[in-house]
Symmetry: C6
Subunit: 262 residues, 6 copies
């Protein structure tokens, strides 16, 4: 076969644990029941991939705003699956490669993900992988098309694969007509209420005690004029860290949250 030479690359079984743990350095805080619902849905797909009689392939899209935890959740659930092959494709591995080398790299990783009986492949940040830039817009149609082909292609018999792809630009994927490459789409949202923020502070933990946390919440409510917020978990965790370097961490935190609020 034409491309058989490519198959002769050295087998790549195993799990790149380090790469994956890097993605969940901030842990997975269950600051709201929505986190459990997300996990359920991904786990059901993992189970189907493992046991279905009809389908040996499934691809999921995790989408949501920047910093909402898409990559962390994909990595966490991938590791939890205990599948023998778990790998992540990220743009930063491909910096400096030519467009065709990137296509080759992505394609090879997919082919590696056909080698074990049970495989998880995380396709992280589709926009970054296709070199998308909103002005123009510009992106690599060739990488995109290669991804689309792979996202619709089952592995050979005897092999099972689940792809977890992440993206922070749902509208783009729609315009690119690639949503039909996925069997399911799961929204990973930002923190949307002060109650969820309270949950994060409890679990981080941040604030001397629950009364300080409540005070923080009531100050923020006053500042925002509402219970509703829209901040990423990543930003919250960074602000908590910054605040610790202030004289009065609680006040510092409130100030940082208010400054960054648009």
């Amino acid at each position: 076969c034409f491309l058989s030479a490519l198959d002769e690359v050295k087998p790549a079984f195993g799990v790149h644990e380090e790469d994956l743990h890097d993605c969940i350095k901030g842990g997975i805080l269950k600051y709201s029941p929505k986190i459990d619902h997300i996990m359920e849905r991904v786990r059901r797909a993992l189970e189907q991939t493992q046991s279905s009689e009809k389908f040996n392939f499934s691809s999921l899209l995790l989408y949501g705003p920047a910093g909402s935890g898409k990559t962390a959740l994909a990595a966490y659930l991938g590791l939890e699956s205990k599948f023998p092959f778990i790998r992540i494709i990220t743009a930063d591995e491909m910096i400096g490669m030519s467009e065709s080398a990137k296509v080759q790299f992505i394609d090879n990783t997919f082919r590696d993900a056909y080698k074990s009986p049970l495989n998880v492949l995380i396709v992280d940040d589709i926009e970054a992988l296709i070199d998308f830039v909103p002005i123009g817009p510009r992106f690599s149609p060739v990488i995109l098309r290669a991804l689309m082909s792979r996202l619709k292609k089952s592995p050979p018999d005897g092999h099972r694969l689940i792809v977890l792809a992440t993206s922070s630009n749902y509208e783009l994927l729609k315009s690119l007509d690639i949503l039909n490459c996925f069997n399911d789409e799961i929204l990973i949202n930002n923190l949307t209420s002060l109650q969820e923020l309270y949950g994060v502070m409890e679990l981080a933990p941040f604030g001397r005690d629950s009364s300080e946390r409540k005070e923080i919440i009531s100050k923020l409510k006053a500042a925002y004029g509402s219970e509703k917020i829209n901040v990423s978990i990543k930003k919250v965790l960074f602000n908590i860290d910054t605040a610790k370097f202030g004289k009065n961490p609680a006040d510092e935190f409130v100030q940082l949250m208010v400054e960054g609020h648009h």
Copy 2:
């Protein structure tokens, strides 16, 4: 002759059965008489190709929405023809090739398809083959033009060829002015009514018995507020499979069908 070196590639007779069977893993369920009508029309063209005194070449377009079964039907009818040469050109075989290598690959496959007395060539997913992306839009004019040349060119005397091309973007083909490359155009549509969905459940089969199936249908009718649906056979079969992993498969199926309904 200028390109004669290309003809010296090793003969490629025979049928790539495996590739073709991969396309019909979900079988061909005759969930509606429309499936038979489609098949009739393709078979007539196969017969004409085989026996016409005037024309040793014919090209058909199978078009319709994503997942409607275009590729599966083309593969099924190709295999059924028992022509000695049956081959499929798909984008995923060409991942990583340069544009000119892709043109070469497509052209060589067409030339291979002139070698046996009776040949079927499936040109699968034209948009993917020309690296089409709707934003821009972008695509390879060179691959497109090569395809167009081949789609209008009869094989040499003593050889007969039918091309079955698939596409999910009819309007695009129109704008690209390539519809006149085809001798016939056949629509492969989605499931359009709950009755057709009932047909699929019976044949899959799904549901303990016909009364459970009827219940499912009536629940969906309530949810949709109509008999009319617009779901691909591919999606239905995947939902049936997912549902089986739920506690109550029938309910799970209803829920999946309702969630995915826009």
Copy 3:
């Protein structure tokens, strides 16, 4: 001279009869007096090219809708001329070549067409030669300019050349400002009336006898609601062939003509 190396290619005198006969497999049916008028006009130009004291070069444009018979007529009249050198340039000979190789190929063929005292060169389907695609639009400006240069350039003294170019996009040629490269423009139109269709059936022949043909015509008139039609001779001949595989060819033909009618 700078490009002299190019002239050393082996002499290419003679007529590529096979290529040219391939273009008129469907014959030239004189289904209407307009066919004679077209032929007259081309023949006058051939005579002028052969005998003019002032001009040893002439270029004609044959334009009209897809399948109207442009290529067939050019090939037929070229062969009929009995000029010692008759050659056709088509896009499918150049599939897989780089843009610059295409320019070279076209240019070399023109140079070959200067070698005999009397030469016919058919430049078939200008849009295909310049890799034109209406979306964008995209095309090769370099190939276009090379063609334009050659379409305005007389052969050296002692040599005479007539170019017969075909195109199905007159408006494009106008926008590209290349119409002034031609000494004459001849429209090759579709069948425009049921009477012309009757002529084709008689000559094909199709229909058991003239009464069956008349019946067909009257059925079509009823279906179309008019005497006027707009179908290509190529499509009509294919439908006639398809119809022969139906149980009742006459009815089958009517149905095919009605279906394909927009």
Copy 4:
């Protein structure tokens, strides 16, 4: 100096008479006093180039519609000058060259045109040289810029050069902001009246005698409904030639002139 290697090309003195005579195969018919006016103006520039104490360089633009005689007049007046170096740059010499080879070729020809004490360089059909195509529009900015640099650059001391450039798209040159590269602009127009056409017929000559010519003119006046015409000298001469192959050349000529009239 950086580019000195380029200067070592073999000297290229002399006049390429053949190339230049090819451009005036149809002669220079003085069918109207305007032809003399044009010639005067070019001759004045030739004289200035030859004798000026201040300027050893001058560049003229000859512009006007397709076929109006720009190239013929430039070639004629160039030859008439008897300057020791007279050369023409045309697009057809550069077919098949890469963009950078074209730049090199043009630049080298200019450098050659610095080698004799008195030089004429005809830069024929600027649009063709820069590969201009109106759709887009597309053209080579690199060739254009190279031309512009050369069109503003005096030869070294002791050398004198006049450039005669032709173009049929004055508005384009304006948009490209290159008109200020020229010291003078001269319009070469089409035939604009039946009287001028009469002049051409007399000089060609065409028509048995002056009474036949007058008859032709009066028929055309009737057909056009006006004395005004707008036809190129090139077209008129071709029609005269074609007409000679008709049974009645005068009538044939009238018909050709009327058909081609928009």
Copy 5:
């Protein structure tokens, strides 16, 4: 690992003091309390990078109009930090490199910035680094994406890095969707009042004494008709220098400030 060869470049520890001092040749004049506020904010981030238990990476954006002092402040605070590795990436180091060499160069500098325990990397003038030009607009999507990947990527454990990026086009960064690559955004503004200008004159120093300075200010107030100004510190310092070459430096300065005022 795929890119491991890149890591074998010679270690690049240390501080490029000279490059950094070049950026602060005009000193850092504290002409307004806003300068201190800016410095505070950058210093807090430096402290967090050095001591945080959770985050070993932080990236700051310094943005503001041309000449406002972004590069100077970044260089000054970088040097002040005494981190063992302090480096600046500027466009002028990369002049003449191909796009891919630029990506490689940037990436290598980031990798170098992972080698010491504490690292400062100044990414100077993002627009220049990505070859941004507002007409089009044009820029290198590939360099941009490489930067974005690096601006979101923590160094390996045991290494800490703070990135100080500068830009004078905040709206562009917003449109490019790269603001979420930064943990904090700090505005470095122009001089906005005559009072700040007075501060600069005192510190430069410029003007014989405070009464001359006051006179200058009052003349400018009269000329501008307002206390508000919008001039860069860079322009002010250059004007002061130019003025010294005039006969009456104070008047010359006023004139220069008024001329350059739009």
Copy 6:
């Protein structure tokens, strides 16, 4: 250092007198006091560059319509400065180079301009250097960015450099956002009144005596209907030269000035 190989090019001290004198073949006629004002302003900058304690670098923009004398003035004032290194970068030196070779060439010339203690570098016709063409518009962003980097970069300590850049498209430079690369902008305008034209005639000299010159002026005033004109010094000097070849030079000159007047 990465680019050190480039520094090893042979030292290039000295003044390219010939190139510079070529630019002022028409002399510098002080036809109006504005010429002195321009010279003053450039001389002040030259002095500052030579003696400033703070700044060892300055860049000036000379802008104005085509032929107004920008290049001539830059060359004249450069030569007058007697700086040991004076060089001009022009587009015609770079004809035939690739884009990257052009960048290299420009960059090397700048580096050469750092080698002497006192350097003048004329960057002539920015539009030509960046291959700007108004249709599109098209230009080389890479050359532009390289220029911008160099136009903002001081030479190493111990070296002083003044850049004199010319452009005839101020609005373009504004749109390209490169005006802030310059420390001063000086308008070099066309002749704007008949009085200035009189000045030129006196200095050229042209006209037998002052009464003939006055007659010319009064004829022109009548023809233009105004004292105001807008002609370049270059055009005026060329017309004077052409007129000398007429029978009555004075009348010929009036006619040429009126013809070229829009």
